[in-house]
Each structure stands twice: as C-alpha cells, then as structure tokens.
Symmetry: C2
Subunit: 218 residues, 2 copies
Amino acid sequence: MTTSMLRTITFSKTRRNYITVLLLVIVRRRDNGWSEDLRHLFHQFMKKCEDGSWTYISEKEMLDLQKKASELSFQNVKPMKKKQFPSTLTRNFQEGLGFEYAMFYNKDERRIVCLFQGGPLLQGFPGLLHGGAIVTMVDYSISILSTKTIGFTMTAYINITYKRPIPIGSVVVINGQVDKIEERKVFLSSSVHSADEKTLYSEATSLFVQLNLEKSET
Amino acid sequence: MTTSMLRTITFSKTRRNYITVLLLVIVRRRDNGWSEDLRHLFHQFMKKCEDGSWTYISEKEMLDLQKKASELSFQNVKPMKKKQFPSTLTRNFQEGLGFEYAMFYNKDERRIVCLFQGGPLLQGFPGLLHGGAIVTMVDYSISILSTKTIGFTMTAYINITYKRPIPIGSVVVINGQVDKIEERKVFLSSSVHSADEKTLYSEATSLFVQLNLEKSET
C-alpha cells in the first residue's frame, strides 16, 4: 500500500466522520433560527423529560416517520421519488423565516406539546401570522400525536377558532390531547397559548382517521 | 441643453418605460410555474369575465390590498416596515413549488373562485398536499371575498372537512360564497373540487369578522 493510498483512506475516513458528526448535529436539533424565548422554553421542557414522563421528538424521529410514510402507497398516489422533496411543508423554509418548532410527547397522558415560533414568511395580515400557518402547525402537531397513538392517520376534519392574532416572531405553545378513540377514529382537542399561558390564541377540535396502508409496489 | 444631457434624459425615460413594462408584466399575472391544466382553466374563467359578471382579481389588486392593510394598525401590532417581507404566506415560495393560483370574483352573487395548483413544497403525507396548505388557500380565498364584501376582516373560525387527499401538482377549484351577513360578521361556505367538478376534496364553513382599524401613527 503506497503512502498516497494511505493518505486517501485517512482523508476519506476523516471526511466521513466529519460528515457524520455534521449530520448528527443537523438531525439532532434544528435551532439556528430560534429566538432566545424559544431556546429558553425548549430547555424548560427538556427538564420535564428527565423523569421519563415526557419525551422530546427529535428531528431524526420526524424524518424517520416521513421516510416510513414515503414507503407506503395510499389511494393510488405514487410515493415521491427518493431525495425528491422529502420534507413536509413545515420544513421547507429557510431557518428562522418559517416554521420553527420543537415537539414533546407524553405517552401515558396521550398529549403533545409543540413550541412554535412563526417567522415573517408566514405572514397573513401585516405583522401577524397567517391563520393558515397556525392551523398548519396545529394540524401537524396533533397528526404526530395521533400517529404515535394508533399509527399513520389523516385529518378528517379540523374546527379551529381564532381568539386573538399572533404577532410574527412570537413564541407560542400548542397543546394537543387525545379525547377519544373509536376503532380507527381518533378525536383530539388542542389549544394555542402564549408561553406564559396567560393568552389563549386559538382552540381546535379535530378527527383523525387511521389509514389503511399497503406497502408500495414501486 | 447639451447632447449629453439629452442622451441622459432619453436613456432614463427608456429605462423607466422598460421598468414600467416589466413591472406591469410581473404584476399583471404570475404564471411561470403554472401547469398546462391551470393555464387552460384560467383561460376558460377569463372568458366568463367578458360579460362583466365575473372579474379577475389581478396580482396588482392583491398587492394593493396588502399595501392598504400594512398602513393600518391593529391591536397594537406595529405594521411591518416597507419592503420588509410585504408578502402573504401564499406568495413566499419559488414559482411552481408552492401556491399557484388565480382568483375570480362575482360581486352580485357574492362569490369567489380560486383556481389552485399546490406544488411539492406544500407536501404533507408523501405525494399529497398538506391539509394545512389546503385550509390556507381556502382561508385566503374567502378572506379576499369577505374583505371585498364588507372591508378588512379576520378569520374567527373555520371548520374544514377533508373528504379525499389532493395529489401534489393537481389543479383544484375552490368555490367560496357569502351565506349571511350580521353586522360585522360574515358567514361563508366553501368547497374544493377537481377541475371537472367530479371529485369533492374538501368543504368548509367559516366566520369572518370585520376589523375595527385605525390609521397607523408610525
């Protein structure tokens, strides 16, 4: 084995390790666009995870869910090709400008908490979050909860009430809980509060239905 | 007046005209990311406008509405600075990858039609539009209708039912209508169909409330 070959092997190993570490950092948490408020709240919730009652849903777990879903076919819709826009809507914005969030799951209580900071690209009325962005984040949070409760589900209905507008950039807390399960149906309720819980922004009730999925043939 | 000065004036006039024409082209319609289906449907609806019953809501009209809204203050929320993300959520994607749409308004019948093509960045379940993207487009369409009916409004509630999933890239038609007006309240219903009207994807009922707005002091 020549020195040159050795150097190449050493280099690629180093490079691979570097990429692995980089990926782990990216996958573990995506917090470059997070405000101080969101970071602070995140650390508070991480402490709640210490006794095992709550668990943080990592970016890796989210990606694994999406990957698993992409291997299934549903109502003759072809899954997207690998590497072809594998992300959900909430991950398709530059960091800090769109949806910034972290989710926590309580298995025993069938609850989910989503810390959410909506960026300027999610604007509706000037200076305020678009109602569509709020319901998107609520829907996504409770879809994760229903999926973790009974497997892949899809929204059948969502009834959302907007009590107060949410200013762009502020951090809010989405609480979701399973109210009832009837065979393939999961009924859920959710709310959107300010971080100090003093302001109620939105409330929603919804029904999610478990999917009949088959392994894709493609 | 020297030749040099004359040349400068001629040049700036030409440049100004060029910029005006360019802006008019951009503002008039934003259709670079439109599929053949959407273009075809758009032309069909443009024909409906010929007798004056329906009018196309141009990009310029949308921008004017957003500009007008940005000059108003609401519940102590400061309007955003000029040129600082003036767009609504639905305009913050690269052409063809996010929300592509055209809206038509019928004043006498208090109805709106939105031709909508959702791109790959609006993905929820792999290959399908995110429910949040669908309700965003429905909410936005009927908010334009309610605003054109009684002035600036905000969503109080929206109850949306998802009957069938919408594949990424397909063109759907959102129909919205005013059902009832009670002082500052506008009750609206809406549906999302396939272009051939054979498939019903979603239905929604909602309440929009007229805003008490004051001219911003900033």
